[in-house]
């Protein structure tokens, strides 16, 4: 027994020492003084040499980005093999060390990385990825990442000229979209070259419609008729494809009921009417919408396995569409024009239709809103040793040459300048190795240049018309909450309430649709459950965030 006690004492002592060594954060004051001296030296540098900044010899930047969704035909497994990044490395003489967690594991990887306290210089990822960690504001406050605000004027003239001058977009709008609740800039996101309209909408199999002599569906009743015909005469066992949340990427299908569906993220079910925030599940329209889906499900019009899918859109895995079980689904303008060639199914022809409504002529209010900046971007960590160099490097990406490289690859290899504008050449558009233009593009070019040229794929007039008219004219997008600014405490509280509410909402929605629960009898129970979880408080917080967003101070 004595021995045991001795061991226990020894252990405790070791524990204390080791845990202190392992967990003690770096002394803040020490770090600050370090930074100050760093700044001081930087300043003297500038006065001595006001000429163009030179990247130091042998400079390296570590960048955290989610790994590539590996495609064996493309054969590229890391960004250091991508032509555009290789070109960027050559251009500035800065070596890039990509840290790429395997595709599909970025949430886990980011959690562990942030928890481990040793961060790379830069992150490039979705803004929403930081929500679980309290958001950018909270991370700045915790001292994990830095506020770009103070560096933009000093080190980033190119970016400043985009952000602080009215160009394609108004500077005020850009600034608001970039800022956090407390007016900091935690992320530098690509700006769209031109505004992009709603790129997501519903498509149906026109070849079947033609064969069956049916019109394109407009109202929910039309949809019912069309889906029934698809099921009975074309053998489509999952005529309508829904995601596992009984919805589509942003909840468009329910828009005719004056609500949004659950979409694909927690925030999708929130919408606003004249500045007032609502949560869909609490609204009568949602109940009616789900009752309709339940009816359709029982008739076999919806994919019977919809709730087990892990896809955000069914086109992310073409096997379902290729199988001929799907007659209608939500699609992106990048995808549906290529269904026939990708699947190799002859005669397959998906055509876009307007968003379903209750009555003809009704205007809907939920869609993908016009995008001015991407919801992803650069975040600089507090562990970055040479802040100036890294900021200068990001700024260098905002020069026209770098913008072209990121959007298009390498001049003369994958793109040419025609009339002053970059354009993909045949290396991408007619790839000699037989890759489709999307595969070729992912091989050579980045997902987004700093000024993101979403038109680079060369859409046909017809497809652009879909986006700019068909999916725009009958939908004003007025209910969509474009942006909100939550303080870190609000963000924490909101995400912890919504973690529970969202789980319940999805679970009950699926049960209602599949008939495991009755919309008639059990709806009130569902509402009382999410109310007991604090949904009303979550709405309040959201309201505050939406109100604050419009009052953000801009330069």
């Amino acid at each position: 027994m004595k021995g045991l006690k001795k061991i226990a004492c020894l252990l405790l002592a070791m524990l204390m020492i080791l845990s202190m060594a392992a967990c003690n954060p770096t002394n803040p004051t020490e770090k600050e003084t370090e930074k100050q001296t760093e700044k001081a030296t930087e300043k003297t540098d500038e006065t001595e040499a006001p000429t163009e900044y030179q990247f130091p010899e042998g400079a390296e930047i570590s960048i955290w980005m989610e790994g590539i969704n590996y495609d064996p035909q493309v054969g590229i497994s890391t960004r250091s093999e991508m032509l555009c990044w290789q070109t960027i490395e050559e251009m500035f003489g800065v070596k890039l060390n990509f840290i790429e967690p395997a595709y599909g594991t970025k949430a886990d990887a980011l959690s562990i990385l942030l928890a481990s306290n040793e961060l790379p210089d830069l992150f490039y990822t979705k803004k929403a990825d930081f929500d679980a960690h309290g958001g950018l504001d909270s991370l700045i406050e915790q001292g994990a990442i830095l506020d770009f605000g103070e560096y933009i004027d000093e080190y980033m003239p190119n970016y400043a000229s985009y952000l602080y001058q009215d160009g394609t977009f108004k500077s005020d709008d850009l600034q608001r979209a970039t800022m956090t609740a407390t007016g900091k800039i935690g992320m530098i996101s690509p700006i769209m070259k031109t505004e992009q309209g709603p790129w997501l909408g519903y498509v149906v199999r026109q070849d079947w419609l033609d064969e069956l002599g049916l019109e394109q569906p407009v109202t929910y009743d039309d949809w019912h008729e069309v889906l029934t015909a698809f099921k009975e005469q074309k053998g489509a066992t999952g005529a309508l494809w829904l995601n596992a949340r009984g919805s589509d990427q942003v909840g468009i299908f329910g828009a005719g009921y004056d609500i949004t569906g659950l979409g694909s993220t927690v925030a999708n079910a929130f919408f606003q009417k004249d500045g007032k925030v609502y949560y869909s599940c609490l609204e009568e329209g949602y109940k009616n919408y789900i009752a309709m889906l339940a009816q359709w499900y029982s008739e076999g019009l919806i994919d019977p396995d919809f709730y087990t899918s892990t896809l955000i859109r069914c086109e992310k895995d073409m096997s379902l569409i290729a199988s001929g079980k799907v007659g209608a689904c939500a699609s992106s303008i990048n995808y549906f024009p290529n269904y026939a060639t990708t699947t190799g199914v002859e005669g397959m022809n998906f055509q876009p239709v307007t968003y379903p409504v209750l009555e003809e002529g009704q205007t809907t209010h939920v869609r993908i809103v016009n995008t001015i900046i991407c919801d992803e971007g650069w975040v600089i960590s507090a562990d970055c040793e040479n802040v100036e160099m890294v900021c200068r490097w990001i700024d260098a990406l905002w020069t026209q040459e770098a913008i072209d490289v990121l959007n298009f690859g390498k001049e003369g290899v994958t793109y040419e300048i025609v009339n002053g504008e970059a354009q993909f050449n045949d290396m991408v558009m007619n790839n000699p190795d037989g890759l489709t233009k999307y595969q070729a593009r992912t091989k050579y070019a980045s997902t987004a240049g700093m000024v993101y040229d979403w038109m680079r794929d060369g859409f046909t007039e017809e497809v652009l018309n879909t986006q700019n008219h068909l999916w725009l004219d009958t939908n004003d997008g007025a209910y969509v909450i474009v942006n909100k600014s939550l303080t870190s405490e609000e963000g924490d509280e909101w995400s912890s309430i919504m973690a529970d509410v969202d789980t319940a909402a999805v679970e009950w929605t699926v049960k209602f649709i599949t008939g495991q629960k009755s919309v008639e009898d059990d709806w009130d129970e569902f509402i009382s459950i999410i109310k007991s979880m604090g949904i009303e408080r979550a709405i309040e917080i959201y309201q505050a965030g939406v109100d604050r967003y419009m009052t953000l101070p801009v330069k």
Binding site: M1, K2, G3, K6, L11, M14, L15, M16, L18, S19, A22, C23, N24, P25, A107, D108, S111, I112, L114, A115, S116, N117, A132, H133, G134, L139, Q142, G143, A144, T237, A244, R245, P304, D305, Y307, T308, A382, S495, S496, A499, D500, T503, A504, V506, E507, T509, V510, K511, T514, Q516, I529, S532, M533
Partner: protein
């Protein structure tokens, strides 16, 4: 035996013991160091269960909230459900999955044809070599509304529906597929134990006129009882630790009601929602219950069969 041990403990003198067992102590050093570094040092991390923990602020910089995290868990909407599900799934595993390899090993042991035995054995290990990602993908595929297991059930007169997405069947599928994956591999240890049973004992039993069933009961089972009891005690020590990996890959919102367990909840809260303090608290609760169960089973086993882990 017990009595002498007790005396030994009372007289225990570390210095004398070290002198006596120099080499044993030397042997143990790397093992102890290993466990201290990789298990005990990280255990200090448990204190974040009592904090509102922010990694950047560190353990000492974060705010102490004491039992708030536990309170939130037990008052929260899901505590009852995840605890209930964990217990049910665990009991199912102990009742069905635990004995399956024993029975399989016994049946295999009865096979006389060495070639057939080897083939069956080899084939039965195969599923274990499939990683869980692939395995769960196959299960979901076969049990979807178009999967061939569903085809089979429709043939028998059932209705066509997704089996894996149906809360009524989820646990059955989970348990059966679990047995499928582990039965062969799990039987290795019992086969090894069986091959260690003294052949002379069988011959003696046969001379006494015992038939095969009696031989199994009186010779084979006692021969491997040690192994069974030991594995059972260990299994009880992870009673509330239902494998989250498989569940995470198989469950869907429609089956949360029966499939959401403590470990999946901890994963969602800790990694996906980055609520480190809270998830550590839930995990700690899990560990405490496991410990209690392990100690209890160990005690019972010591009383009943005179075998124990420690």
């Amino acid at each position: 035996m017990k009595h002498t041990k007790k005396n030994a403990v009372e007289k225990f003198n570390l210095i004398r013991d070290i002198k006596k067992n120099k080499l044993l102590y030397l042997f143990m050093i790397p093992v102890i160091v290993y466990f201290i570094i990789f298990h005990y040092v990280p255990m200090a991390g448990i204190v974040v269960a009592f904090e509102k923990y922010f990694p950047r602020k560190g353990i000492f910089g974060s705010q102490w909230v004491w039992f708030k995290n536990f309170e939130n868990f037990f008052k929260g909407a899901y505590a009852g459900r995840v605890i209930k599900n964990t217990i049910i799934i665990s009991v199912l595993e102990i009742v069905f999955s635990f004995p399956a390899p024993i029975i399989f090993a016994l049946l295999l042991n009865e096979v006389k044809n060495a070639k057939f035995k080897k083939v069956v054995q080899t084939v039965s290990y195969m599923p274990h070599f499939i990683s869980s990602v692939v395995f769960c993908g196959l299960v979901a595929d076969f049990c979807s509304s178009r999967g061939f297991i569903t085809d089979f059930i429709v043939m028998l007169g059932g209705t066509r529906q997704s089996l894996i997405g149906n809360a009524d069947y989820f646990r059955t599928i989970y348990t059966i597929s679990g047995i499928w994956q582990t039965v062969g591999y799990g039987s290795i240890i019992y086969m090894a134990a069986l091959s260690g049973v003294d052949k002379e004992l069988y011959e003696a039993a046969m001379l006494d006129g015992a038939n095969r069933l009696q031989q199994t009961w009186h010779v084979t089972l006692p021969g491997i009882a040690n192994t069974i009891v030991m594995l059972f005690i260990l299994r009880m020590g992870s009673f509330l630790t239902v494998g989250s990996e498989k569940l995470l890959l198989l469950y869907a919102p429609s089956t949360y009601e029966v499939a959401d367990v403590i470990s999946t909840y901890v994963y969602r809260k800790g990694i996906l929602d980055a609520d480190f303090g809270y998830s550590t608290a839930v995990n700690l609760f899990n560990s405490v219950i496991n410990t209690a169960l392990l100690i209890l089973t160990n005690k019972i086993s010591r009383k009943v069969s005179d075998m124990s882990l420690f």
